[in-house]
Symmetry: C2
DNA sequence: GTCGTTCTCAACCAAATGGTTGACGACGAG
DNA sequence: CTCGTCGTCAACCATTTGGTTGAGAACGAC
């Protein structure tokens, strides 16, 4: 299968699944409980949960015929680490650009002075 | 079209596109430069860039017939905010669970004492 | 102007995705 | 044991996705 980062991003690229995650962050819930607010079949929600489970975002235990779903928060770190890494790089680059622009501004001012002097 | 959060997560749910983002974090690049390391057609890379652009992750300017691509770091915040929100909730719930378990442990100890007393 | 370079657009294709319905397994209640 | 409940599995369908190729637009160089 795809690597976990791919699976996690893909899992969260669906509004229904993000909503499920949002609700599971508040409280564990069964498949039926999760399905009620949506006007799709129970099977569709079950599929969504499988995607979330494969991504490592959700774990399920047994309780008689119920399958309580639990949000696994630690997987979020995987994403955060990836995002932060490149956000930092991009921002660092932005800072350097600012510095370069400031220097160019300074150089331009010097040139103006020289130009005015000549 | 879909909302931006959906588009951003979907855009990053592809290894090639994540790699493009990683490389753009270091330095701006043209479509051709970005395409060379991959063994797919230039058109395929162009499509990937369109997806990243639609997600707001990349902006493109003109330079003669070149189209330099630039990473737009601020969109990352959208994701980070979403992720952090639910990660926090989930962690807070985890803390409360710990507290409940600790209390139950205490109650169980009291019951044991009562049981021993009766 | 014509030519080479860079890139996008359009049409097409195979595979994956998100949905449906129907059948069935697993379980507690009666 | 039988019944209703909760959930999954399987087959199917429409749409999207990631890739291809071929044509062509936009631009600098000559």
């Amino acid at each position: 299968m795809a690597d976990q980062l791919t699976r996690v991003f893909a899992a969260l690229a669906d509004p229904t699944r993000r909503d499920i995650v949002a609700r599971l962050a508040v409280q564990d819930a069964t498949v039926g409980e999760l399905a009620t607010p949506y006007d799709v079949s129970l099977q569709a929600v079950s599929k969504h949960l499988k995607v979330l489970e494969d991504a490592g975002l959700v774990t399920r235990t047994r309780d008689a015929q119920r399958r309580p779903c639990h949000l696994e928060a630690n997987v979020f770190d995987l994403m955060t680490r990836w995002i932060e890494r490149y956000r930092r790089e991009a921002e660092a680059r932005y800072q350097r650009l600012d510095a370069v622009l400031a220097e160019m501004q300074g150089t331009a001012a010097s040139n103006d002075e020289q130009g005015a002097a000549s």
